[in-house]
């Protein structure tokens, strides 16, 4: 470093000093102190004192209000009572705190001395210290011999790089490997479509044109990992005029008389696609507004999702209930690296 006075305030090279150069205004120094009312008028001083005391007294009242709310407002099972208690406890605390806070600040601003004081900044560290420190560090390094003994240095480096790895590997058992679970849901051939959350089965005749059902597979409510299964298996069931459906080749018999079932889990980041616009036959995800068009097999027509909602092939069993013909033909929900 060529600049020997590097970083030391007070030396002209390193410190920004407005007002020094010839074509700048000279610093006029601190403006004269303006006395406050309480500095000049003993009555104003007394008044300020009483105001501070009054504020502290308000704090006392606030604390009492808190106790009143706590002991005199018994909670029953109405939310109105809870609100009243919360209001009294909260306002009590607020007054207790604000009384003290505003009182102290008022005291400081009106009665404590308000002369601005000037203090000099000091160097963060004297230059000599830095030089000494550099020498000490170098001496330590020399004595340790770490520079002269590359064998020691390199083996230590290797060991130190490897040693933390167990601390990472040990977290391996935080969870199981994904395996195949993201590709399977509870749906299978013959599994009945049932209402969410009651679990009652749905007849094809229950599904009128324009209606939408939130659907779970039969037996979900009794499943061992209910929420995990539900997070994959929820389905929206809607009926359109069969003319309006435009099934692609291979999907002709996935619908039953205009009734279609689509995964309710958004292909964007997994929110439930819960909104159905009857008139336009659009499904809308309330989280990020991805919009899917039922008439085009839930193709994305707006928003951040990139893939259509997976369709669940359905049919009707002997008793007239809607059942799945198979599981989904692709993984539901948000994309993942291994999805393919």
């Amino acid at each position: 470093m060529a600049d020997s006075s590097h970083g030391a305030p007070g030396s002209s090279v390193t410190v920004a000093t407005p007002g020094r150069a010839l074509d700048e205004f000279e610093n006029p120094g601190l403006p004269p102190h303006r006395p406050r009312l309480a500095d000049r008028d003993p009555r104003a001083e007394k008044r300020a004192e009483r105001q501070v005391a009054l504020l502290f007294f308000i704090s006392v009242l606030g604390t009492l209000l808190f106790f009143a709310g706590y002991f005199l407002v018994p909670l029953d099972e109405t939310i109105a009572r809870l609100r009243l208690q919360n209001l009294m406890l909260g306002l009590g605390t607020a007054f207790a705190m604000l009384g003290i806070g505003v009182g102290i600040v008022h005291w400081a601003k009106t009665l404590m001395p308000d002369h601005e004081v000037t203090e000099q900044r000091h160097e963060i560290r004297p230059e000599q210290d830095r030089r000494d420190a550099e020498k000490i560090v170098n001496d330590i390094l020399d004595e340790s011999g770490i520079k002269r003994r590359p064998l020691i240095r390199n083996t230590l480096l290797g060991a130190a790089l490897l040693a933390p790895l167990p601390a990472i590997v040990i977290f391996r058992d935080l969870g199981p490997l994904p395996g195949n679970v993201l590709r399977q849901t509870m749906w299978d051939t013959g599994v009945r479509l049932t209402r969410d959350p009651s679990g009652t089965p749905i007849r094809a005749s229950d599904v009128t044109i324009g209606s939408a059902f939130h659907v779970i597979p039969e037996g979900l409510n009794e499943a061992e990992h209910k929420l995990e299964e539900k997070a994959k298996a929820v389905v929206l069931l809607m009926r359109l005029d069969p003319e309006e459906l435009n099934p692609s080749p291979g999907r002709e018999n996935w619908a039953y008389d205009g009734i279609v079932a689509y995964s309710k889990i958004c292909t964007h980041v997994g929110c439930p696609v819960a909104l159905y616009e009857q008139q336009t036959h659009h499904l809308l995800c309330p989280c990020h507004q991805s919009t899917f068009d039922l008439e085009q097999e839930c193709k994305v027509i707006f928003g951040p999702a990139a893939r259509p909602l997976p369709q669940l092939p359905i049919e009707v069993d002997d008793e007239g209930y809607l059942v799945a013909s198979s599981d989904f033909q692709e993984p539901v929900g948000p994309s993942f690296w291994e999805r393919g």
């Binding site: 909670l75 400081a108 001395p113 995990e228 539900k230 819960a274 999702a305």
Partner: protein, 561 residues
């Protein structure tokens, strides 16, 4: 003083003296009192935001500790039996049930929950505003660069603290938030699925996540925050606080009030004020009424839901990104590899990572970027008024605009319903604004800064407009200007206005590419500049009056009245 006390042993006479002597002769401490008792702190209302952040953190620790005594971070299934009738008998997690109990069956529990939540919102807000203050006034410059980095880390940690806490009640709303996190994680190439399975302990939602977030929320994150706050404040003491330029203030002094009694009283009193205001808000305004949402269930969701404000910008970015372009292009790519096909979801990855990376990288690197541009290696203890650093201010405003457009996008559905406009149009407009808004904001705010600087020059040279119109004997109307006093004028002129550095050729007559780039950036930063008024100019402006047309003399004499 030390020489006189060395002669005879110190015998305290006052009661305070006896107490301090007792303590000091056992554990020391008079040194600390000497160092801090009368330490000078500069005062300015913008220095308050950091204090708010500190105090809200203390309030978070206090209320949070209370909540831990009643909250149970278990995802085991239970049936609710508490006082809130609409949910009685409903199946839910123990975590959600205990959160309901805190709200309905622990007296003051609801208040504690609400103060905790409001404080968390205010904590992140005050950290952010504090950082904006530091940025726009140039307080990050040498020697405070490391403290700026500590502050940036604290901002990220405050977001992490907020998000981990937000999910703990295990209600429907926060569960959907976790679902989004899960979806975003799964989009990460190669390791995403594994990360998700490790975080949730298996498939989403699993039974582990709440307990894990709880440990992060009440132990790890607050401990690191506390440590960094310690380092942050230590460095403030080490550097002494920066101050705005003004009469009596220089780069080598500190002007302000001593810690004892004024500053301590104001700052200490302010803690109670912050607490009081938060208590008042929590008394009157419900936050996060988890009982309305119900327990987490992957199927239902309500429209118009919002994350806590500080997560909004990432959620908004997710909303703004189009998943498909036209009929035949989408942002999800299938990559053929020898072992099979892998999926790359850029429609999720880009909005989830890129804006945050831009914002945080720019934030962390800014002190060094600016030092490179200005080639200024000096220590700065005097702050800039934002207008006096027009390009920095404009870049900051552009960043804020970028952030705010994404934040607004998190409410795109509510904007559409409240203003009765098409949701799709709102999204299209915001997509436009997220790209061009920052550019427009940059241009506008730089112009405004320069205009304000010119206004300052005007005032320094010709004084304040009094609004008094005077008719001169020959019929001319003038407005009387009142010259500013020396103090005010110094305040208006005490700043530096760097000039463009032109790259110089080396001994071979060549200019390196880096120097060329630096020259261009320097021109971008400082080409448009307003210089502070100099005494010479002030002199000349008075001279001008005398040289003007007839009547100037009268004008002078009126102005001086």
């Amino acid at each position: 003083m030390s020489s006189s006390t060395a002669a005879q042993p110190y015998a305290p006479k006052t009661r305070t003296g006896k107490v301090t002597d007792y303590v000091d002769s056992r554990v020391g401490g008079s040194g600390i009192v000497k160092e801090f008792g009368r330490k000078i702190f500069p005062d300015h209302w913008t220095f308050m935001f950091g204090e708010v952040a500190l105090y809200t953190f203390v309030i978070l620790l206090l209320t949070g500790t209370f909540l831990t005594f009643f909250y149970d971070p278990s995802m085991a299934e239970t049936h609710y039996e508490g006082s809130y009738l609409p949910l009685r008998g409903v199946e839910m997690s123990v975590a959600y049930a205990s959160s309901l109990d805190i709200s309905f069956d622990v007296r003051g529990g609801l208040l504690m929950r609400q103060i905790h939540h409001w404080s968390a919102l205010l904590f992140v807000a005050s950290v952010a505003v504090h950082m904006l203050r530091v940025f726009f006034t140039g307080a990050f410059r040498r020697p405070r660069e490391f403290n700026w980095v500590v502050g940036c880390t604290l901002l990220i940690l405050s977001l992490a603290a907020g998000f981990t806490g937000y999910s703990l009640p295990d209600d429907l709303l926060s569960g959907n938030g976790l679902r989004i996190i899960d979806g975003v994680m799964k989009a990460i190439p190669v390791v995403g699925t594994y990360l998700s399975f490790f975080l949730f302990g298996g498939e989403f939602p699993g039974t582990m996540i709440i307990g894990r977030l709880y440990v992060l929320h009440i132990l790890l994150i607050p401990a690191v925050i506390l440590l960094l706050i310690g380092i942050h404040l230590f460095m403030v003491v080490l550097h002494k606080h920066s101050q705005f330029p003004g009469p009596g203030r220089t780069n080598t002094n500190v002007v302000g009030y001593p810690v004892g009694p004024v500053y301590a009283a104001k700052a200490g009193g302010f803690f109670f004020i912050v607490f009081g205001v938060l208590a008042a808000i929590s008394a009157a305004f419900t936050i996060n009424p988890i009982w309305n949402y119900g327990p987490y269930d992957p199927s239902p969701v309500s429209a118009g839901t919002q994350p806590d404000w500080y997560i909004g910008w990432v959620d908004g970015a997710l909303r703004l990104m189009p998943g498909t372009l036209g009929d035949n292009f989408d942002f999800e790519f299938l990559l053929p590899f020898p072992w099979g096909v892998n999926t790359l979801s850029l429609n999720v990855l880009i909005p989830a990572l890129v804006p945050a990376m831009i914002v945080f990288t720019a934030m962390f690197a800014w002190p060094w970027v600016e030092a490179w541009v200005t080639k200024d290696k000096r220590e700065h203890h005097l702050l800039d008024r934002p207008r006096n650093a027009p390009t920095r201010t404009a870049i900051g405003v552009a960043g804020v605009t970028f952030y705010c457009v994404m934040w607004a996008a998190a409410s795109s559905d509510l904007i559409a319903t409240h203003f009765m406009v098409s949701l799709n149009d709102v999204t299209y407009w915001l997509r436009f604004l997220v790209i061009f808004g920052p550019i427009l904001a940059f241009m506008a705010s730089r112009r405004i800064s320069l205009a304000l600087q010119r206004k300052d020059r005007e005032i320094a040279l010709h004084g304040r407009e009094t609004g008094r119109i005077v008719r001169l004997p020959h019929g001319e109307f003038i407005e009387v200007h009142e010259p500013v006093d020396d103090y005010k004028r110094y305040k208006l002129t005490a700043f530096e206005s760097p000039e463009v550095t032109v790259p110089k050729p080396d001994e071979n007559g060549k200019i390196s590419l880096l120097d060329k780039a630096h020259g261009r950036v320097s021109r971008f930063f400082f080409e448009d500049r307003v210089a502070p008024v100099t005494p010479k100019e002030l002199e000349a402006s008075h001279g001008d009056h005398h040289g003007e047309v007839a009547g100037a003399k009268d004008r002078e004499s009126i102005a001086s009245h």
